[in-house]
């Protein structure tokens, strides 16, 4: 939207943006500087820059004691399987619902829509018993299975993309004798690429950030993920704010890097998912 506002409004705009940027970056600034300070320095130097940006003891400490590397490794395994499954299931459901007319089509679509209204947290007590029954409690299988189901957001985005792929492509493939599976594999799936890129990023961020699921379903020390590793670390070491800062910074890095390189896809995914 465009406003031919006064100079006053223009100034106001920039002032509010400056304030917002300050509010966003101030906490981040404070962990960045804290991560490179010795304990004594941390408590004495206030908000000033660290003396030595090559002081890395805090990082090695949080990696050794906090078990962060184990956390990174575990979450990567979970992410890889769950996200791959999501892409496969999401595209399959979208292909089936987007290309074929059949009796249960509306029912299945409605099922996904209603499921989104049920808040995940409310059903955890019951979900917990299912996971126990499947003997997946305290295994990586629990979060993987819980993250695996494609959600309605995914299906809606994929359906839009499937709709935009011309049916002529399918038909000419059929004339050449391609099977319906082949059409999915060689035409639909590759053409869904941009949507897939977006969904991989968004899903990865949300799984990486999740605390609830690993905390409830994988209490074992060996199954720490990033969330639970840093959570268990703050207890006994609450006093060492500098070491904690280093841990926070390390955990921030992967998604920030992903975000910086994939901004376009992330913004596209967020807007496509919610607006339509």
């Amino acid at each position: 939207m465009e406003r031919e506002g006064s100079v006053g409004f223009a100034v106001f705009k920039y002032v509010t943006i400056a304030v917002a940027l300050f509010v966003v970056f101030f906490p981040i600034y404070s962990v960045v500087i804290g991560a490179f300070k010795t304990q004594v320095e941390y408590y004495q130097s206030g908000l000033s820059l660290p003396k030595d940006f090559f002081y890395l003891d805090n990082f090695s400490k949080v990696i050794d004691v906090g078990g962060l590397m184990l956390g990174f490794r575990n979450i990567l395994v979970i992410l890889f399987i769950a996200v791959a499954g999501n892409v496969v299931f999401g595209t399959m459901v979208a292909y089936a619902l987007g290309r074929f007319e059949f009796k249960l089509r509306k029912t299945i679509m409605g099922m996904y829509l209603v499921a989104q209204v049920i808040p995940m947290v409310t059903t955890q007590v019951a979900t917990f018993t299912i996971i126990q029954h499947l003997h997946l409690y305290n295994t990586m299988g629990a979060p993987i299975l819980l993250y695996l189901g494609a959600d309605v957001l995914q299906i809606v985005i994929y359906l839009q993309f499937v709709g935009s792929i011309p049916r002529d492509l399918d038909e000419s493939a059929m004339i050449e004798g391609a099977s319906l599976f082949r059409i999915y594999r060689s035409i639909i799936f590759p053409l869904l690429g941009p949507a897939t890129a977006t969904l991989i990023i968004l899903k990865s961020i949300s799984i990486y950030n999740d605390f609830y699921t690993p905390y409830l379903y994988m209490p074992s020390q060996k199954l720490k993920v990033v969330s639970t590793a840093i959570y268990s670390f703050i207890g006994p070491n609450a006093a060492q704010l500098n070491v904690i800062s280093a841990g926070i910074l390390l955990i921030f890095i992967p998604t920030v890097v992903l975000f910086l390189f994939m901004q376009r896809y992330i913004f596209a995914g967020v807007t496509n998912g919610s607006v339509k």
Binding site: M1, E2, E4, G5, A20, L21, V24, F25, F26, P27, I28, V31, Y42, L47, M92, Y95, A96, F100, M111, A115, V117, I118, P119, V121, T122, Q124, V125, A126, T127, T129, I130, L145, G149, A150, S179, L180, F181, Y184, D210, F211, L216, V226, I230, I234, L241, I244, S245, G247, I248, I251, F252, T255, V256, F259, L260, I266, F267, V270, T271, V275
Partner: protein, 292 residues
């Protein structure tokens, strides 16, 4: 590869492609929702399978114990914070969708908190709010506002506001980007026509922008409300719900896993589920009647 007729292939594809996803959804969305109702009528402890049907006793307990519903006022902080946050998001979306130098950079910067790890973010704010060495108090000291320094997490009147602020900090950029997407889908000739008719910036906002983003607003309000009801991570990671920061979900989780009372916890979850559904229905009916 397949030598079946297309008709057979169709069945195979539909069956093969839909069975597992549908089963997953039934198992992890619908079955839990249904069994929750059943558990809520029992005295099950969650250990073993010994459960007795006790009718509506759990519900009676919830509605007669003030401390269960009392925590909802803590959820209210997150809701009010959420409303402020949606308003801010809309404001920044509007100005960052207009003519402005460096708007792409500003968008990315304001969105950044959303991609930061949630638990690490809460812990980051633990450092920010630290009474003695927290960077917020240091900042206030540095600019001569010592009198504003607070025990942000210790003061009972401030603690929930401090926590709700984290949620605003994290989600403002996300909502802003969603709003920007909605704003961009408004055809620009509407604004041009309005300009020719001599509409002011505010009038254009009021009569073109707002009506056009109504459905997104509705979605945001629902998400704000349900998000507030489901608040868990922030108060739990920060203080384990202590110092008067417990929320409904923290109570439910504690009732189930700490006090081993799955029956009561299930009833609480059902109540939460019904509240969420109720609010969604009310919001759709009231707020946006006249539309459609």
């Amino acid at each position: 590869m397949f030598n079946f007729s297309y008709k057979t292939q169709r069945y195979l594809i539909l069956f093969g492609f839909l069975t597992i996803p549908v089963l997953l959804s039934l198992t992890f969305s619908y079955y839990p929702a249904v069994s929750l109702f059943y558990y809520s009528l029992t005295d099950w402890t969650g250990l073993g399978w010994d459960m007795h049907f006790i009718g509506l006793d759990n519900y009676k307990e919830i509605f007669t114990k003030p401390e269960v519903f009392g925590v909802l006022k803590n959820n209210a902080y997150y809701f009010i914070g959420g409303l402020v946050q949606v308003a801010l998001a809309l404001y920044f979306a509007v100005i960052l969708n207009g003519r402005l130098r460096g708007k792409n950079g500003f968008r990315a910067a304001l969105f950044l908190p959303y991609v930061l790890h949630s638990v690490a973010t809460v812990i980051m704010f633990k450092n920010v709010y630290h009474g003695e060495y927290g960077s917020l108090n240091m900042l206030l000291g540095a600019i001569g506002l010592e009198s504003w320094q607070q025990s942000w997490l210790g003061n009972k009147h401030l603690v929930n506001i401090s926590l709700a602020f984290i949620s605003m900090w994290k989600f403002m950029g996300l909502n802003m980007v969603v709003f920007i997407g909605a704003l961009q889908s408004i055809p620009s000739d509407l604004y041009e026509a309005a300009s020719i008719d001599g509409a002011s910036g505010w009038q254009k906002f009021r009569y073109i922008t707002l009506p056009s983003i109504r459905s997104v607003m509705e979605l945001m309000l629902i998400l704000t409300l349900t998000g507030a009801l489901e608040a868990f991570d922030i108060p739990y990671v920060m203080l384990l719900g202590a110092n008067g920061t417990s929320t409904f979900v923290i109570q439910t989780v504690n009732t189930a896993f700490k006090y081993q009372n799955f029956g009561l916890a299930s009833a609480m979850a059902v109540v939460l589920l019904l509240m969420v559904l109720l609010f969604i229905v009310i919001q759709r009916k009231l707020l946006f009647r006249g539309e459609k």
